[in-house]
Amino acid sequence: MANLTTRFFGLELKTPVIIGSSGLSNSVEKIRLLAQSGAGAIVLKSVFEEEIVNEYKTEFQKQSDDQSNLEFLDYFDYEIKNDRVKNYLDLIQGVKKAGINIPLIASINCASGNEWAFFAKRLAESGADALELNLFLLPSDLNRSAEQVHNYYITTINKVLDTVSVPVTVKLSPYFADLARFIKELSETRLAGITLFNRFYNVDIDLDTRQIVPANVLSHPTEYLQPLRWVGIVSGHVSCDIAASTGIHDYQTALKMIMAGASAVQVVSGVYKHGYDVVKHMVHGMDKWLDQNGIASVSELIGCAGSAKVKNPAMYERVQFMKYFGEFDQSVD
């Protein structure tokens, strides 16, 4: 049997398959099943600042039948935050009490500057083995410059790094004008790892109602191509571990990501679609493939096809089809 141990989150993981942040890990029992399936680590469901704001609204509507308890509700958002942290603490303690041996990673999704540090500290104190910052600003603000966005990330990450002692990783989006340079800059902070990429809520338009509706909640297996390219581009050029995420539904894709340079892969949609067994199949598949190819350890494979190792790294940067489409057009004719 091949050695599947790898490193991410500044931790040694038994296998490179990480369960990404989702509702898959919101109970001790689910975490037990995921651990038994062979997952190397579990990123717990993100604490979303937006959810707290919405819950505050709900509680206000529910509890304030008159203005008499305005004082009680005035700072109730802090109550909700503390409740979220307590739930994390209870879950982590529950897992440890149940003797389930798997690294648990706390995850935060915040929008405002100070909340990151607040949650980071509290969640780190809750016993999480590491912290993942689900850090993203949709570059839709017409008044925010690229420099301001850049500064926001760097300031926030440094603030969190100054606040906690557990390893910290970030899960990034692909929307940066200088993505490769930015990933390199981030890797030179004290971050323990960077995950490429965050998958977002998509919107579509319903032709009948002409209203915006959610689209493609779960990823499709072909979506792996974008992270594969960027993992390959930065592989060998950055100073921290890289993990891949989005569209990884089987062991073959996981292996490709590792060859491109990922130390580990995050999976969510595959588990939602096919159940906990998909993790088992991925782990077994990787193991078998490594054995069949005479490779003793998965670590030997990391980055073997990354831009720093392949003969023609420019392939990762090719964006125009040129001749390819020319041939395609002829076949259509």
Binding site: D66, S68, L70, E71, Y75, F76, S112, A117
Partner: protein, 493 residues
């Protein structure tokens, strides 16, 4: 059966009220300005924790203000009263100088009018629905001032009656906590002939009325008078007794108690959990006010002091924050500051309390929110970092929400910080009763009759509502008494 609206109509049609309405023309009533509440000079009152700020209306002022009331056909003010006091009737009794009847009218619905006249937010309740407010765009009739006048007159005249009680039925019931909801519960139950015992965890009876509200706003003697009457009616009070610890509910049941009313309030302080909040010199408003109001911390002769500061910051914008900051000023703070993340308009505190605080020299650092505290080498807080805020879109409360201004912070020197960002229900009772159904936030869940998931246990006030005005808490106590009486009567049958 007569509806309440029909009852009000009948009362309005009494001959004396019809005559009184004719005494002045409408314009003569509405042209009169609203009375001003006489107050002690800010420079004087700030020297004392016990000098009441508001002096109360004099006889002539009260009669004049009462004559502003139009005795409306549709008295919308009553809609604004959480317990539906017949407001025009008590006011018209003041106008015709029947002060005793005015007090009696109030007491039909409100067991503690002297308290409510002082601390209820009338501007958000009855006065916000007054004809003057909604139709004339003029200052409302001073319903709160008149309520206080009638109650004070009755007390000072020595004509306070001890209400008649039904013959004892020998059934023992207990009230847990001695705040407004428990007191009104106890009063109603003892009138029905029950053997009522009130258990209080602290050494003083009165709950939040005593430990939470400073004497400069609500003198203890106002509460003591009501307690004396309850005692004369036969209610027993046991202090220093924590139900659930000193004795369990089961033990009390074994002692013969057949019903329980839990009015244990919201005594669990909340904090913001920001860095440095555990430094010395940072405490909850509960601790600060309890030490001063109940434990004599403002008096050097007592052995239960409280930290004093030159630069005192109070976090929050409610009445408790105002009580704390004004107390700090009275304890010698050179700089007493309110730190509140929204603007003045959004503060939950009563307008009058904010005005009084400002007159007494309190500074308002609005649109700021603490994000970190710093300490000296001994661990005593010496600085706080404030995040500057701006107002965003309205939130669920209808108030504009506080939004951080990215990167804008300010450091302020402080040596005492009082955190007054709200309180949570006291967890002792729910923790001692596993079968008791409580909400996610620790409030006891009750039906319309204030009965909990444990049939013999009723509850009201802050332990049910999270936060309640005194009058709402009292309404709960009365509602619970009625329901418990029905429940126990059914059990007996």
């Amino acid at each position: 059966m007569t509806t309440y609206t029909e009852y009000l109509k009948e009362r309005r049609e009494q001959e004396w009220r019809e005559e009184l309405r004719k005494k002045l023309k409408g314009k003569e009533r509405t042209d009169q300005p609203r009375v001003h509440m006489p107050e002690v000079d800010p420079n004087e009152r700030v020297k004392s924790q016990t000098v009441e700020v508001n002096l109360g209306l004099g006889r002539e002022e009260a009669i004049k203000e009462a004559s502003r009331c139009m005795d409306c056909v549709n008295p919308t003010c009553i809609e604004g009263c959480p317990v539906g006091i017949n407001i025009p009737e008590f006011i018209k009794n003041i106008e015709r100088e029947e002060f005793s009847l005015a007090a009696k009218t109030l007491k039909m619905y409100n067991a503690l009018p002297a308290v409510c006249g002082r601390v209820c937010p009338q501007e958000k309740q009855c006065e916000s629905k007054c004809f003057y407010t909604i139709k004339l765009n003029k200052p409302a009739v001073a319903i709160g001032y008149l309520e206080r006048f009638a109650a004070d007159w009755e007390r000072e005249s020595g004509s306070m009656d001890v209400p008649q009680c039904a013959p004892s039925n020998g059934i023992k019931v207990a009230a847990v906590g001695s705040g407004p909801s428990s007191l009104s519960f106890a009063g109603d139950m003892v009138k029905l002939g029950y053997d009522v015992t009130v258990f209080e965890a602290l050494h003083e009876i009165g709950g939040v009325l005593k430990y939470g509200i400073p004497e400069f706003r609500l003198p203890n003697r106002m509460v003591d008078v009501e307690l004396d009457i309850l005692k004369k009616m036969g209610v027993k009070f046991v202090t220093n007794f924590i139900v659930g610890r000193t004795a369990s509910f089961e033990q009390l049941k074994e002692e013969g108690f057949k019903g329980f009313f839990v009015g244990s309030g919201a005594g669990l302080p909340r904090f913001m959990n920001i860095p440095g909040e555990n430094y010395n010199g940072i405490m909850s408003s509960n601790e600060y006010l309890t030490r001063v109001n109940l434990m004599g911390a403002n008096n050097d002769e007592f052995d239960t002091p409280v930290l004093r500061g030159k630069n005192v910051a109070v976090i929050g914008g409610g009445n408790t924050a105002m009580d704390s900051v004004r107390t700090a000023k009275r304890l010698g703070a050179e700089r007493a500051m309110i730190v509140y993340r929204r603007s003045r308009v959004e503060m939950p505190a009563r307008v009058e309390e904010v005005k009084h605080a400002e007159e007494e020299g309190v500074e308002f650092l609005n649109l700021t929110n603490p994000i970190e505290y710093f300490a000296d080498e001994k661990g005593r807080v010496n600085k706080m970092r404030l995040q500057l805020m701006e107002l965003g879109e309205p939130d669920a409360s209808g108030r504009r929400s506080p939004v951080e201004i990215p990167g804008a912070t300010q450091d302020i020197d402080v040596d005492l910080v009082i955190v007054a960002v709200g309180v949570s229900p006291n967890p002792l009772i729910p923790a001692s009763l596993p079968d008791l159904k409580v909400s996610r936030w620790g409030t006891i869940e009750v039906n319309d009759g204030m009965q909990s998931s444990i049939p013999v246990l009723f509850a009201g006030g802050d332990i049910v509502r999270g936060g309640a005005t005194v009058i709402l808490a009292m309404g709960d106590g009365r509602n619970a008494a009625k329901s418990m009486h029905e429940y126990l009567s059914d059990q007996k049958d």
